[in-house]
């Protein structure tokens, strides 16, 4: 067993941390308060190769592995949950399905600009009546000649307003048993009939863009079908398994930030003539936070490693997502508690950690769904 990171992984951590500290950190309060998507930061991240991190060079990627990618998400999340979420979604949901299931032509045409960071992608799965219950999908895609005609509505789609390519799930027909067949289709955002709206005022990750997508008789060539039409459902389950690792890594980053802030504050703040960190009640909180974070980190890295080794990782990515995001919520909550009244104030940032962490227990499969996934893997 080897817990040592490679030189490339170490170097990536160092680079992303420096970028996050110097470029993102000075703006995090503003990004949250004004709920402004930091498009220019994504341009810079694209130029550094971060948006193509886990994809091969021939598609404009950086040739890194999943573990390196998880480290990058962790480091960005440590500084800014909003930027971290949009980054994770751009790579894991916007670009990855095209890499996993696209034809060579689709990869050249659609993945390359995403990997180079020239533009962003979004993944349209969730609908007003279908989230984790993907079988409830109501959007339809009907084949008419050489085109699919898509009709439906998608909601809570990360990066939608800034995406130039949408991967949209839709019912394309019925299988032999009469069940809905759900497939994924590549839809350029400027296709006539596509309307994207910024309709949300969110509790946390406020600077991460979230949009609604309306599809009204949207016509795309049948070559835009992504992957095997009969295995659409399986395909996006695989996509979500991968996405879970990145959301777990984001939780890890927020948890780490919570611990660092709480520890620094506890050492500095004096009550009854002594620093808070000398009180056992506070020490126990910090000890629990540090322990849970390290356990979460081990699980997140292991899930990433399994994926890189091409071994099954469904159960482990659910473990990682569930534990790391709940760790983030607990750690942020305790960080506020340790800060007392100050922690309730925006400028101390820990209240933002809690608001951002809450989303991670919901998005890309709620904690309850993670438990379901785990239970199914156990054979229940």
């Amino acid at each position: 067993m080897d817990f040592e990171l490679s030189k490339e992984q170490e170097m990536t951590r160092r680079m992303v941390r420096a970028f996050a500290e110097n470029k993102i950190k000075p703006r995090t309060l503003d990004i949250d308060k004004k709920a402004q998507f930091p498009k220019d930061l994504f341009d810079e991240m694209g130029a550094l190769g971060l948006l193509g991190l886990p994809f091969p060079e021939k598609y404009g990627g950086s040739d890194g592995d999943t573990l390196t990618y998880a480290i990058a998400v962790e480091e960005i999340g440590r500084v800014c949950g909003s930027t971290g979420l949009s980054y994770a979604a751009a790579v894991s949901l916007g670009a990855s399905p095209i890499y996993y299931f696209g034809t060579e032509e689709q990869k050249q045409q659609f993945l390359t600009p995403l990997a180079k960071g020239e533009t962003l992608g979004a993944f349209g799965l969730t609908e007003p009546n279908a989230g984790s219950d993907a079988g409830g999908t109501q959007t339809t895609a009907k084949l008419e000649g050489n085109d699919y005609i898509i009709n439906g509505e998608k909601c809570f789609i990360t990066n939608a307003n800034y995406a130039s390519i949408l991967t949209v799930t839709a019912v394309t027909g019925k299988d032999a048993r009469g069940k809905n067949m759900i497939s994924a289709l590549l839809v350029p955002a400027d296709t006539p009939g596509v309307t994207i709206r910024n309709a949300y005022d969110k509790m946390g990750v406020r600077g991460s863009d979230t949009g609604e997508i309306f599809l009204d008789n949207v016509r795309v060539p049948k070559e835009n079908l992504l992957g095997d039409p009969e295995k659409g459902f399986k395909q996006f389950l695989y996509t979500l398994d991968g996405g879970r690792i990145s959301i777990a890594a984001l939780g890890l980053g927020i948890a780490q930030a919570s611990l660092e802030r709480a520890l620094a504050y506890a050492k500095e703040r004096k009550q009854f003539g002594h620093p808070l960190s000398t009180f056992q009640a506070i020490q126990f909180k910090l000890a629990d936070m540090a322990m849970e974070i390290e356990l979460a980190r081990n699980m997140v890295y292991k899930a990433a490693w399994l994926k890189d080794q091409k071994k099954p990782f469904t159960k482990e990515s659910a473990f990682a997502k569930l534990f790391a995001t709940e760790t983030a919520f607990r750690a942020a909550n305790q960080a506020i508690q340790i800060h007392g009244g100050n922690g309730y104030m925006r400028e101390y940032e820990v209240e933002r950690y809690l608001r951002d962490a809450k989303l991670l227990e919901i998005g890309e499969g709620t904690s309850e769904v993670q438990r379901l996934v785990i239970a199914r893997q156990l054979g229940c």
Binding site: K7, M11, T12, M15, A18, G49, D63, G64
Partner: protein
């Protein structure tokens, strides 16, 4: 253009210095590329981008310095040399410049860039000493550099003022803060760095003996500066405060 950079691995600027048994302890310390050398690496890569050629980064140090060399390669340098100095017992700036002079003996050089000082010992000696040994001109604390027709036009920082110097190549320059803004190594750069050549040299490979490069200085003691005393705030009317301050500067601080 044959562009060389002298690089040193140093303590992270955020590390606390701990002295144990009359030496600075490096237990659990994070290391970085000396920040001034980072300016030199950036400038070297910019020269290559403008004029073509090759950037070679050289360090004299321990095996662990490979990590910092790889970072330089990830930023865009083409190849790297690590000259191992672990066998030299009493080591100082004259040792480094002696070793580097031997390294450069058979090299075709257009320009050598280094940091103005290192952020640990901060002597600023290695660059000028090396240039002397190689018998080429050197310009220190540079904040601007243009090269055309084998002539370098250099802006240098002279205690806050600027001086412009023209010099023929080959030349050795040392970088001051303000020369440029070092780039982050890009992800593709990081991934490619592992495939770039990095050669480790022993003193033997340079036909050097350990005794030949023994340092010329002797370290008598290593200690931390005394802890800063708390300041004192004077009270009363402004005139009284001024009078009190002048008196204290005379009698207590004894500086006037």
């Amino acid at each position: 253009m044959n562009i060389f950079v002298l690089m040193k691995r140093t303590f992270d600027t955020e590390e606390k210095i701990v002295v144990e048994n009359s030496r600075v302890s490096d237990d659990g310390v994070e290391f970085i590329i000396n920040p001034y050398d980072e300016f030199a690496i950036e400038e070297a890569i910019k020269l290559k981008e403008e004029h073509g050629g090759e950037v070679t980064v050289v360090t004299v140090g321990e095996e662990e310095a490979e990590k910092e060399l790889r970072t330089a390669l990830a930023m865009g340098a083409d190849k790297a040399y690590l000259i191992n100095n672990e066998d030299v017992e009493n080591y100082d700036q004259s040792s480094t410049s002696e070793i580097l002079a031997a390294f450069f003996k058979d090299k075709e050089v257009d320009i050598i860039l280094g940091g103005n000082v290192s952020n640990d010992n901060g002597t600023g000696q290695v660059g000028p000493r090396l240039a002397e040994k190689l018998a080429i001109p050197y310009v220190t604390t540079i904040v601007g550099l243009e090269i055309s027709d084998r002539k370098a036009t250099i802006e240098r920082d002279v205690e806050g003022d600027q001086e412009t110097v023209e010099v023929e190549l080959p030349v050795l320059v040392t970088a001051q803060q303000g020369l440029n803004e070092p780039r982050y190594p890009s992800l593709p750069g990081i991934m490619k760095a592992k495939k770039k050549p990095l050669e480790v040299l022993e003193l033997d490979d340079l036909d050097l003996d350990e005794d030949e490069v023994e340092g010329l200085t002797e370290t008598v003691d290593v200690f931390l500066p005394p802890e800063k005393q708390a300041g004192r705030i004077l009270e009363g009317e402004v005139e009284e405060q001024v009078a009190e301050l002048v008196k204290l500067l005379r009698t207590e601080a004894k500086v006037i």
